[in-house]
């Protein structure tokens, strides 16, 4: 090793053989996990989508029959529409609130205690968040309806109402994630040096003006990144639905992932459920593609 500098060619190759061998050992467990539980099941998923498979026998190859069935599946169309309604509500409110919170924090206080408190809902599970709000939104004696009743407004059947189910589920997840998203945006805001704002304020720019002409443009890459993560995440909403409405009432909250779960695990149609998850995969890939395009547009915009 000590002669390495004198004879780089010979020792480097001996060195690199050793390094390659070490690398193999270091990566082996992760590689095994990757092949066995990521890559192989991904390939299996595509294969199962071409089969009829109920777990009892072997998967039977049926070509594109599942996909032919998908085209006429009214429940799938419903599930996609419901999921899109959820995603739009969830992302819309979450982004606006998080952006507002992040700016407020930046302008008012950098207290770590306050940031910690905002993070509390994100720490508990979806199941707990759902339970909490299921109780607060109870029609008979839930706190929210008690307050609404006291204000002489008709009570609202939150999780049980056909109109209300999806907005309520979206609300629960906005509540759980708004602090987390706000902290992501806040971290992005920290990269804008303070003197930029000071200069703007000396030039007589209003708070609103410095928000719209400094903060927003500089935040666009961060916001784009946050959106990629939150949009793909919220397309896969499941937990809240599973412990509160179970897709009801009248299918109004049967989101795509819950529909896949029901087809596969309640009805044992694994082939068809796999075909449905191919649909989800395609939607997510499409969303990611569009968002990446937009991010790239952002980059050239900034340059």
């Amino acid at each position: 090793m000590k002669t390495r500098k004198k004879h780089p060619a010979t020792t480097l190759s001996a060195h690199s053989v050793r390094e390659r061998r070490a690398a193999l050992v270091f990566i082996l467990p992760a590689l095994a996990g990757f092949l066995l539980f990521y890559l192989w099941p991904t390939l299996c998923g595509f294969y199962y989508s071409l089969t009829k498979y109920n777990l009892l026998g072997k998967p039977r190859f049926i070509g594109l029959a599942n996909f032919a069935k998908i085209v006429h599946d009214k429940l799938l169309l419903n599930a996609i529409m419901v999921t899109i309604e959820y995603v739009l509500l969830n992302i819309g409110f979450q982004t606006v609130i998080a952006l507002g919170l992040a700016v407020l924090m930046q302008r008012l206080t950098k207290s770590i205690t306050l940031r910690g408190m905002l993070l509390l809902p994100w720490l508990v599970s979806n199941v707990i968040a759902a339970m909490l709000w299921f109780w607060l939104f109870d029609y008979q004696i839930g706190f929210v309806n008690i307050v609404i009743d006291a204000l002489n407004i008709p009570k609202i059947p939150f999780f049980g109402g056909e109109f209300w189910a999806i907005p309520t589920i979206a609300f629960v997840n906005v509540w759980r994630h708004m602090g987390y998203t706000a902290l992501l945006v806040f971290a992005g805001l920290q990269t804008v040096p303070n003197y930029v704002y000071e200069a703007a304020s000396i030039d007589g720019a209003s708070e609103w003006r410095s928000f719209s002409s400094i903060t927003l443009p500089l935040l666009r890459p961060v916001l784009a990144m946050v959106l990629v993560v939150t949009v793909t995440g919220s397309f896969q909403v499941f937990d809240t639905v599973a412990v509160t409405t179970k897709g009801g009432p009248m299918n109004v909250s049967r989101v795509l992932q819950y529909y896949i779960y029901q087809k596969g695990f309640d009805q044992g149609e694994f082939g068809y459920a796999s075909a449905l998850s191919v649909v989800l995969f395609i939607i997510l890939a499409g969303v990611a593609f569009v968002q990446l395009k937009m991010m790239r547009a952002n980059e050239s915009d900034m340059a």
């Binding site: 990566i27 599970s125 339970m131 909490l132 971290a187 599973a242």
Partner: protein, 302 residues
């Protein structure tokens, strides 16, 4: 409040806009915290008495009965008298199950994740960037897509309703764990590593005596985040853990709710159970809050 914030505020500390901003911030904070207080207040009430004072901010008919009921410490008669169903729910067992599941996954993921991150960040080998690219692409695959085949695989090798079956898919890696640590390992100064090598240390010794100690902060952060995420996991435990010995808290909570017979659910019991499920994560948070809050910044933006 630090200096910068004070500087911002000097000019117009009491302007109406500023007051409105504080009000908005505190209102959001209240919305964040209130459900937790309400959970505690309900858990300390009796379910039977709740309808008599649904708007009371304090516990109605104060009692620790709901906690005793949930932990299996109260008699059936007592449970029924307070408005519980009297069905036995073995929460201590589920608490233990969740602790085992989350701990094993955390240990495996952090250990193997940091090893892989070291190989990707510090070692030179053919095909490294390509393999890393493939790992990166795995982030695009939605979890449910791999969950169906993984469930079938775990079932076929006879590990359904076992702890190994629960743990295996995430024990060796998640792409996130590797990316997260690789980021930090890339930043370590080459010279420290080289001087160790000159002293005759091999890659293992370098990894354990230089890289790991120097990265103890990000490694701990990853451990905490992994533990919290696994503790809160619902979908996979719902599929794989249906027996008493493998049912996780999150799944048991869902069952607890639907187990309620006709009429109103046992709200006090449910909130006590919810509080108990949240407790370990909350304790972890209070112990490491600064670390966790800081990690949100670099886990996302960088």
């Amino acid at each position: 409040m630090d200096n910068q914030a004070q500087f911002n505020g000097v000019k117009n500390r009491f302007s109406p806009g500023r007051i409105a901003a504080w009000v908005a911030l505190y209102a959001t904070l209240a919305l964040t915290i209130f459900p937790f207080l309400w959970m505690l207040r309900t858990a300390l009430s009796t379910t039977k008495s709740l309808p008599s004072a649904p708007g009371s901010l304090l516990p109605v008919d104060f009692t620790f009965g709901a906690f005793q009921r949930v932990l299996g410490l109260s008699s059936t008669a007592q449970a029924v008298a307070e408005g519980g169903s009297g069905a036995s729910v073995n929460f201590l067992q589920y608490l233990l199950n969740s602790a085992i599941y989350a701990s094993l996954v955390t240990i495996g993921q952090v250990a193997f994740g940091s090893m892989a991150a070291y190989a990707f960040a510090r070692l030179h080998w053919k095909g490294r960037d390509m393999v890393f690219g493939v790992f990166l692409a795995a982030l695009l695959v939605p979890p449910i897509f791999t969950s169906l085949p993984n469930f079938i695989f775990i079932k076929n090798i006879g590990l359904l309703n076992t702890i190994p079956g629960m743990v295996l898919p995430t024990f060796f890696m998640t792409p996130f764990a590797i990316f997260f640590l690789r980021q930090f390992f890339l930043g370590i100064n080459r010279e420290i590593e080289e001087s160790a090598m000159l002293d005759g240390a091999g890659h293992w010794r370098t990894f354990f005596t230089i890289i790991v100690p120097m990265s103890s902060a990000p490694i701990t952060t990853l451990g905490i985040l992994t533990f919290i995420n696994t503790w809160n996991d619902y979908f996979w435990p719902l599929l794989v853990g249906k027996t008493e010995g493998t049912k996780m808290l999150t799944v048991a909570l869902g069952v607890f709710r639907s187990q309620t017979p006709q009429g109103s659910p046992d709200w006090a019991g449910l909130m006590a159970a919810t509080l108990i499920s949240a407790l370990p994560v909350l304790a972890l948070f209070f112990a490491f809050s600064k670390k966790i809050v800081d990690s949100i910044g670099y886990s996302g933006v960088k």
